[in-house]
Each structure stands twice: as C-alpha cells, then as structure tokens.
Amino acid sequence: MARMKFLCDAERCIECNGCVTACKNEHEVPWGVNRRRVVTLNDGLPGEKSISVACMHCSDAPCMAVCPVDCFYKTSEGVVLHDKDLCIGCGYCFYACPFGAPQFPQDGAFGMRGKMDKCTFCAGGPEKDHSADEFKKYGRNRLAEGKLPACAEMCSTKALLGGDSDVIADIYRNRVLKRGKGSEVWGWGTAYGKPEKGATPPAGAKS
C-alpha cells in the first residue's frame, strides 16, 4: 500500500500562494481558517526561502497522541484524519503539532474554538465518500476520486509534491542530483522520522 506524503522543495517555491488558493477553493474553507500556508524565511534578504506548510500526516502523529477524545485516525495510506463529531475543540492538538496545522473556526475563552479543522490530504473524513456531510465538514475527497491533493496538483513550479512517498522521493532525488544542491527536505525528519520499510528518503533528508 502506498504511503502518502507531502514534500516542499524550498529551492523551487516562489511564494505565489497558488497552493493556498487551490485548497481554499477546493474545500470552500472559510475566511480565517488556513489548512495550508506559505512561510517565507529571511524575507527580502539574500538567501530568502519559502515553503508551503500544512498537516504533514506524520508517521507518529503527536496530535493523535494527545487528543483526549481520540478523534484522530490514520488511513491505510498513512493519511491522518479526524472525526469532527467527536472533536471537543480543546486545542491540545494545536499545541502538540510541530507544523501549526490544526485550525479553529473561532476564538474565545472556555473552549469556544469550535471543531478543529485541518488539511485532509484531500481525503475527506469518516462520512461516506462524496456525501454532502463529508464535503461540509472536511471538503472534497479527491483521493477517493483517484486524484492527488489540489495544492500539489496546482503548484506552478512543482515545488510542492504530494502523493506516494516512493514516487515523490524519486522525483526529488533526481532533482537534487541534477542541480547539485538543495538536498535538505524541510520537515521530513520531524514528520516521518526514520524511513519506513520500503520507503527511501531523498539524499540528505534532515529535520
């Protein structure tokens, strides 16, 4: 079974926010909730780099570990999903996540955050595939349609790759060999730890 992962190539990301817009449009995500965002480091300075960040669907996901109501589950393809009917909006997952992925529709004291929302790798939720309920709570289920995440598909420079970890690691390795630089894959060490059986990390993968 394929293991789904995201990989963002900081050598290629041009901070166009196409991924963010694709995500918003695909899932009709409300204003203020950002399942994906682009972070720029050293803005305006030589060596400026941008990366697109969302839920990385970690191998050993800290959100799953801390959730007091156990609303998270992992699909057979390694996608980390959650059940909004169980979520109590406590925010523990937000504090546990190293990527700032969990989002809340509102702000306020005494657990008034509302149900947590995050990137689903375009894989919907526990509801029946393609049902109105699923779309309302989690957005479109592209994986069930045989499609990859909208953000990566839309990426104009193909900096953001999303899909079978073996395939995207191969693409990345070829790129690194060809350009002879930029072998650091941001976030992979944190998200996926040591390589899983069968998967091969890109050359020089770190933190």
Binding site: C16, N17, V20, T21, K24, N25, G32, D43, G44
Partner: protein, 528 residues
Amino acid sequence: MMTKPGITVSRWIDAVLEKNELIDQDSNLKAVVYWGHAPNSQNRGKEMVEAMKKLEMLVVIDPYPSATAAMAAMARKDGVYLLPAATQLECAGSATASNRSIQWREKVIEPMFESRTDHMIMYQLAQKFGFAKELTAKIKVVKGKGGMDEPDMEDTLREINRGVWTIGYTGQSPERLQAHMRNMHVFDVKTLRAKGGKDAKTGYVLDGDYFGLPWPCYGNSALKHPGSPNLYDTSKHMMDGGGNFRANFGVEKDGVNLLAEDGSHSKGADLTTGYPELDHVLLKKLGWWDELTEDEKKLAEGKNWKTDLSGGQIRVFMKNHGCHPFGNAKARAVVWNFPDAVPLHREPLYSPRADLIDKYPTHADQKNRWRLPVLFKTVQDANKDAGKQFPLIMTSGRLVEYEGGGDETRSNPWLAELQQEMFVEINPKDANDRGVRNNEYVWVSTPAPSKPRIKVKTLVTERVAPGTVFLPFHFAGWWEGEDMKKYYPDGSAPVVRGEAVNTATTYGYDIVTMMQETKTTICQVAKA
C-alpha cells in the same frame, strides 16, 4: 479629425481639463467609456476625479462596478452609466495568452443577472451608431442572451484571421484551435509541439503544430504554419516556426546596410543573404511568380505579403523556399526616429537629487503629441527642490495575489484573504527615522499640485533599500483615508478595499509611448 492619431488612454484627463486652445482637436473630451479598464492603474488619481466631474457622460462596462464607478459616484450625482459585462466564464471565444498562444474557450454558464457579453454590447453600440451591418458584414449574427442578437464568435475570429497578416494572426482558425483543445495530450510539455496525433472529430492532423499556434502563425490556415514558440529563431526552418529579424526600417541607413549579412538566415532558406520584405515585384524578380495558382495570381498582382488576401505570396515564399515574408534584416539598436536614438539617463521629473538635474535634464516641453501638450522641463524645474520635503523615492508595482486595478481579484475571497490591507514597503532605517513600526498606519504624501495623501499600513522590510518605498497598485476603494464603500452599489463593493497608490502619483509621461509615469516619483511618509 478621424484620420489624425488619437489621444492616448493615459492622457484622457488632460483631454478633458486642458485649455481648449492648446489641444489639437475641436472640442475637449466630453464622454469616456471605461471598458474593462482600471482607473487606479493610471497616475494623477486626484486630478482624474476633477476630470470625471467635468465630463458630460461616463460609461463603465465591466463585470464589477469597479473603482471608476465608485470614484464617479463620489464626484457626481448623474451622467454615469454602469453596463454589467459577462465574465470569461459566461462566453465562448478565442483568448490569447502572453506567450502569444491562443486557446478556444467554451462557455461554462449563461451570462448571469443583467450582464451581456462584450461582443453583444459592442454590436448594440454599433447598431446605435448605425454601422452594425458593416461591423458584421462577414460575421454571422446569432441569438445570444434573452434572444438578443450578437456576433458569432467563430466568425469573429475568422474576421481577424482574414485581416491580420502582418503579425501572423491569420493561421489560427477556430477549427485548428478547437482541435488543439480536444487533444492537449499530444503536445510535448517542454517543446509545446505535437508529436503525431489526429483529431477524432475532424480528422485534423495535429503533428508538428505548437500548442495554441502562438502568433506569428503565418499564411491562411490551409498553409498549416505551426506557429512560432520563439521569435527570430534561425535554427529552425520557417515552416517549423523558425524566423529571423524583420526588414522594417528600410534597406540602408547613412550608407550602412540594414539587411542581414551573407550567411545569416533561417534554416533551409533558399535566399542565404539579407532581403527586403516580400511583394509581387520581388517574387517575379526571383522567378517564383509562376508557383502561384491562377486564382492566387489575380489577388496577388500589385500587392505585397501584407495586402495579398490570397495568402499565395506567403505560401510560395515560406513553404517552397523557406524565406521570411517580412524580409531578413539586422536587429536595430539605434532607433533614429526616437528622441533618444540610444537610451539616455534623464533624471525623473520629480527627483530627490536636485544635483543631477543639470547633468541629466529631461526633455523640452512638447507642444503637441497625440493632440495634447506634454510638459517635461517645466515640471522638472518647478520641482527641483521638492526632494527636501519629499525625500523618499516612491515606486509602485504588482502583487502576485491581485491583477491590474484589482476590482475582480479583491472581490474573490480566496485571494482577498491573502492581502487584506494596502501597504507601503519601507526600509527599517526609514521607518525608525520616522518613528513608525511595522503594521502601523502612515500617511504617504507626494508633491502633486493637488496635494494628495493616502493612508496605508507599513510593511517594514529589507525588500526595499533605504531611501526607497514601494506600494502595490491593485488597491482602490479608499480615498485619502476614507472608506468608499458607500459609493459602490449595495453589496457590490470588493471584499478588500484600500488606498489606490495612483491617487497620489505625480505628472509624467514617456515621450514616445505616453505611458504614464507610475514607477518614479517622490514622497514623504509620516505616522498617521
């Protein structure tokens, strides 16, 4: 008056406001139609409002009420008409991209609300003026929205194909473009060229075409020129999209040969030296005239490649002999018909460096360029010391999230969320010297005679050097600190509104193109 070059878009406000005796036409401008155009991409916004007040009529044709409508509503109570136009999703037709390739677009939905397609509005305008029959002499008129007549879009492209020989907008028939859209998969993503392939619907053979037949796509569609993905590419045969520099400036200048030297030509050309542009005389001299068919000869006699409506001259020259119909010449770097034959540095009209003005003065004032006087030296001299009060260079430009004047993109919540406020990029040094911090409101003021000032947020960043500030030009909907929401029709104001930088930009026009000077002026920034 109709035969004289017209007033440029950039100068319309002067055509309204200038003294009548100084303009080169009978009356001042009395009516303006804004058709899918943003007022906030032009300079001197504060003076533009004065021009709007003086007009007898202002028409806005746009999918959105736009900044024009709001500015006009702020300035006057009547004489402004909003004609809602359909978006690209509500009509079919050809669309040219900035890589010169053309795609055929299908209608996705019917025009919504009261909107009509651009071509329907154009046809109805022609009807009112009494030349609708001439407009559609060779274009089928079909039923559009509400049973009203409009020109057929395939015929409209065929009409363009019939006439635009010079830039090669002739080979892209609707049938060829539609076949491309149905068969995108046969085109190589790197070369853009089709490898094999046959359109199942029409039997059209796609092999060798470049996707979207990027213009120039010379000759009529039967010639099957593949389009030109790169211009002036001598490494390819003319019929493979190759080319060379154009013979457009004569054959010699001051005793120097302007045509290409021997051996410089597109691949496989029968003429291996420079040659002038093609006409019937050249074709006869070369002994190639009889390669035309009898029908082609009738239309080609006495004509050149741009006026031979048979396309025969182009066919023989290009297909049979691999030569370029526009001739084969050298590129021109000295443009002797421009005021500066080679670009010279001239200090901007508004400069923070008074000491450079004597060394690099601007042009002399011009009495009449495109029917209007243009000021250069007068403005520069009058503002020599403006840099003391306005010490920062002010430039403007684009953001990736928004497009043009931004009315459309700022109305789209997915995009609007990404840039929620108009801002000025300012270097930490300049910000600290003015006691302002990141994300605070400031007033940006310029030395324009109307004393404009705009209220924007700071973005303190190293993106700009000390002494320079940058402002994006996509915002509108605020006016010198005031939200203009009440001036938009109810419910139609863009999601994000902000000051238009061009409310504050100063006078200045390029002497050749009359392009407005929006990139180089000076300003002061102060805490609001």
